[in-house]
């Protein structure tokens, strides 16, 4: 029996006549005179629950999540670092949270000052010239930057139809390129897990608009050919885009602009610790080189004397990719983080993120295959391919069994270039003891019985949901019988 109360679906808890919110009596002497033809006969059939049921329901459900605040969460590519509590308190300050997006610039000078400084900080960290804080998430940042690139070439009168993308890239890269109207061309990785320069050269011609690179890449490797790569692209008149998902490895150490990137996006919810919220919100600002700045979305924050303003007068701008300014609540948390850390603290983040990952790698390199060497940046990819071949144990089995030990699973089956991939990113906010205990658990799991692992997890309320059934006979909502 489930001892947690009120965990049925809200709709099953519903009891006609109950409610958890009451409105004040109407204080104006006017009736509702909307035409009957516009009105529904009944309000929507929402559930009817009392306040204590509602709270028990969601509090009990919350205990069925693993989260950074409850468990080590080494999910590769996601940078699951600690989310400081001060950010939650300060970002909900009513002097910020209760600002309307369309109120006059004069009535939100404090907010604009913060956003202006954030633009400048992100430009400095990128080593680039202009920043738009508008994109709502990394994928929207990619799309925005590619639209900027398209507008840049259109303005120059050049027709360039292709975006080149390494085969180890995040799926958002090709999806964003297609949405921006480009054809995508996949570039192979070499045996070292880096860009295959020969393949890149063979696919590079005057049709190339942008090369999208993730550096450090999704294997956790810094591509040491980067200067050659960016030179190759620039010689052909193409632009280099940096997918900034892995910025946590290089803060204050090297800058995308310095290694030849012309455009990039940040994931403020990763690198600058906006909480992930169970899948969002994120924030995906982009930084670009000087020649691309005129094409950035409107508005940008500008400073004139002591006054800040939103600048909409940007005739070459691509327009906008969303309504209003951006995911300001997350940008604020990023700003609070950068201001808390200062320049030395930012560098310390990357140094320790890389140290933690390398330490964990040193503990695991003889336990699992590590196809791309025994050094990494902020994350590394191990492979269960030998276990799979010899004992039919998959990366998924290992990930599921880790849940029993109280660890969230690594990212599995990504990047696609490594079979049975387990992508592990410990972040800088974990201790050596945590890393040791996690490594010990993995070592123990490796030696466990295969059938036992196929049925993991064993100690959670749930084990191995039937995903095929979910997709074949989709039930995407509750319905009254």
């Amino acid at each position: 029996m489930d001892k947690r109360q009120s965990t049925e679906l809200l709709f099953e808890l519903s009891h006609p006549g109950r409610r958890a919110h009451r409105l004040p009596v109407c204080d104006v002497p006017v009736e509702n005179t909307l035409p009957a033809s516009a009105l529904a006969e009944e309000p929507p059939p929402l559930p009817e629950v009392g306040e204590i049921d509602l709270i028990r329901h969601f509090v009990n459900l919350s205990t069925r999540n693993m989260a950074i605040d409850t468990n080590f969460y080494p999910l590769g590519s996601c940078t699951m670092k600690y989310n400081p509590k001060r950010h939650e308190r300060l970002a909900s300050h009513p002097g910020l949270a209760d600002l309307h997006p369309l109120q006059s610039d004069d009535s939100c000078q404090g907010m604009l000052a913060i956003l202006w400084e954030m633009q400048n900080l992100l430009a400095e960290i990128a080593g680039l010239d202009g920043v738009s804080l508008q994109p709502a998430a990394g994928a929207q940042g990619e799309l925005t930057a590619l639209l900027v690139a398209a507008a840049y070439y259109r303005n120059k009168g050049e027709k360039r139809s292709r975006v080149l993308i390494p085969d180890s890239a995040h799926g958002t890269n090709p999806a964003s390129a297609a949405l921006a109207g480009f054809d995508t061309v996949s570039v192979k990785s070499n045996a070292r897990g880096l860009v295959d320069l020969d393949d890149l050269r063979s696919k590079l011609d005057d049709r190339a608009a942008v090369f999208m690179i993730t550096n450090p890449n999704t294997l956790g490797l810094f591509d040491d050919q980067i200067a050659t790569i960016t030179d190759l692209l620039h010689q052909r008149g193409a632009l280099v885009y940096l997918d900034g998902a892995n910025m946590n490895a290089i803060l204050g150490i090297t800058r995308p602009g310095d290694f030849g990137a012309d455009m990039m996006h940040y994931n403020v919810h990763k690198t600058f610790t906006g909480p992930h919220g169970g899948g969002g919100p994120g924030s995906g600002p982009i930084a670009v080189r000087k020649q691309l700045v005129p094409f950035l979305p409107t508005p940008l924050v500008v400073q004139t004397g002591e006054r800040y303003a939103l600048d909409f007068d940007r005739p070459k701008s691509i327009g906008r990719v969303r309504s209003f300014f951006g995911n300001v609540g997350i940008l604020l948390r990023g700003w609070l983080y950068i201001r808390t850390l200062g320049p030395d603290g930012l560098r310390e983040v990357s140094e320790n993120a890389v140290l933690n990952a390398n330490y964990l790698l040193s503990r695991l390199k003889n336990v699992f295959d590590v196809p791309h060497g025994d050094r990494c940046m902020h994350e590394f990819v191990a492979s269960a391919r030998a276990l799979r071949r010899e004992r039919k144990i998959s990366a998924m089995d290992i990930g599921k069994r880790l849940l029993d030990f109280g660890y969230h699973a690594p990212t599995v089956y990504f990047p696609l270039v490594v079979p049975e991939a387990m992508m592990i990113e410990p972040t800088e906010t974990e201790s050596k003891e945590t890393l040791d205990a996690f490594a010990d658990a993995l070592i123990r799991i490796r030696d466990e019985d295969a059938d036992f692992l196929h049925n993991a997890p064993h100690d959670l309320a749930l084990s191995r949901p039937d995903e095929v059934k979910a997709a074949k006979e989709p039930i995407l909502r509750w319905r009254a019988d």
Partner: protein, 470 residues
């Protein structure tokens, strides 16, 4: 203070285990010539106390809704947020979790998102809803791209001029490099005339996008619109106000094929524009064309009911350039807030909230049009927002009203040159009769040329009084 736990001893032990002598050595793949050999230009680190003081100092240059009475709308609204919403969303088991890829470790989020999808279906009267998009503007773009997936041979997109101008701009930006023709249908009388749609729509028309209630606050004629759109074989996409559905007919009832909305009003603070959430619901037959995450119900190996992310073959991490959308991160926490909000209100609470909005907005319209020189611009029924035409300069009226303690409205001339003498005013259930009367008096005083009755707040004097979100 970087939240790093490694002590110097830890570092030494870890470096030794790795087999290097310094942290520097771990970065040897980065050529010296590419290194930043100076500290980043950023302000020095701050303690929590200093940071709190700095934020307080900066916030005093702002005039939030609690400091000046907020009659601003245009897609973001000062609705009341019940405490239960923040109590739930403030649980870090929710807000510090990632996307629920590992179902066994994410049932809390997954069940909540399944409930969210169901609530949005109940709200809209449509069959399926996704687990959220970024916000209202990009939701319009995603809906049009989804329509294109349904009708790949059709290329003409008709949009009402009464659709939020920033949504229209977003759509134009998204479609800039795709082979689609965008045509804006004028709405000189404050609504989209179904006959004009009938004239413009043909067998190349992919979809018609309207907003109901529209950007001017007016009600459209959604049933008549659905009819003419469907006669052309096109899809009817509607942007709706979730609160309005406490009273108004639901998109599924009047024939919308895809309904999208800005969901900020469902328990999310205005937060200067984000994070908000986009809602998207549609008819069952389009489910495999939908953008974004979907949570589905299934059973585990012991037969227990549970929830998982499903139909992921639509998504970018599987389908890459052939995905239905590039969206990955969505607005999960905002969807959770909307879930708690809708469950807290229930059908009666939502209806009463909508009723209060309508009645107070109409009282405000009545009261404000008694001010000399002020009249309603459109002779149309409206929900919680309405458009006034005034005789004096709108920017100066708005600046003056702010001095008197009111964010009085939005200058429509900013987006519509023909409405340069107009402002739109939004009235939520939070506005009181006294506040509405106060705004009317302020405009009357201004008309009489009287000095304002309250001391002029200086730009520095942000006087953050209270957390008005209750």
């Amino acid at each position: 203070m970087s939240y790093v736990l490694n002590t110097p001893e830890d570092r030494r032990a870890m470096l030794a285990a790795v087999g290097v002598s310094s942290i520097e050595e771990l970065f040897e793949k980065i050529l010296a010539s590419l290194r930043l050999n100076r500290p980043l230009h950023a302000p020095e680190a701050m303690s929590e106390m200093e940071l709190t003081a700095e934020l307080q100092r900066l916030s005093e240059y702002n005039r939030p809704a609690g400091d000046a009475v907020c009659f601003l709308g245009g897609g973001a609204y000062d609705h009341f947020i019940p405490a239960v919403v923040d109590a739930v969303a403030g649980r870090s088991e929710y807000y510090t979790a990632y996307t629920p890829y590992q179902a066994e470790a994410s049932q809390g989020s997954l069940q909540a998102f399944f409930e969210f999808q169901t609530l949005i279906c109940q709200l809209t009267g449509l069959d399926v809803a996704n687990a959220s998009l970024y916000e209202g503007g990009s939701a319009v773009a995603e809906a049009v791209l989804m329509a294109l997936n349904v009708h790949p041979k059709r290329h003409k997109v008709l949009i009402a001029e009464s659709l939020h101008p920033e949504y229209r701009q977003t759509l134009a930006t998204y479609l800039a490099n795709l082979d689609l023709q965008l045509q804006t249908l004028p709405t000189p009388d404050g609504f989209l005339d179904p006959d004009a749609v009938k004239r413009a729509a043909d067998d190349r028309t992919l979809c018609v996008v309207a907003q109901h209630p529209n950007f001017f606050g007016c009600l459209e004629e959604p049933e008549a619109l659905a009819k003419v759109v469907h006669e052309a074989g096109a899809l009817f996409i509607v942007s709706f106000d979730p609160i309005s559905l406490g009273l108004l007919k639901r998109p599924g009832q009047y024939g919308a094929d895809i309904a999208i909305a800005e969901g900020q009003c469902l328990g999310n603070p205005m937060s200067y524009g984000g994070p908000y959430l986009g809602l998207l619901a549609c008819r069952e037959e389009f489910v495999r064309k939908m953008p974004g995450r979907l949570v589905g119900q299934t059973v585990d190996r012991r037969g227990k009911r549970c929830w998982v992310l499903t139909l992921q073959t639509r998504e970018q991490h599987i389908r890459r350039e052939k995905a239905t959308s590039n969206i990955c991160t969505n607005q999960g926490l905002m969807a959770l807030k909307a879930t708690v909000y809708l469950a807290a209100l229930g059908p009666q609470g939502l209806r009463e909230t909508a009723e209060l909005c309508v009645r107070k907005a109409h009282y405000a319209a009545e009261r404000l049009t008694q001010v000399p020189g002020v009249r309603l611009r459109f002779d149309r029924p409206f929900f919680k927002e309405f458009t006034l035409q005034v005789e004096d300069s709108v920017p100066s009226l708005l600046a003056d009203s702010l001095e008197r303690g009111y964010h009085a409205g939005l200058h429509l001339g900013r987006w519509y040159p023909s409405l340069d003498s107009c402002l739109s005013i939004a009235v939520t259930e939070k506005r009181t009769r006294a506040e509405i009367d106060g705004l009317a008096s302020a405009l009357e005083d201004r008309h009489k040329g009287e000095a304002n009755g309250i001391p002029t707040p200086s730009i520095r004097g942000g006087r953050v009084r209270q957390d008005n979100r209750g």
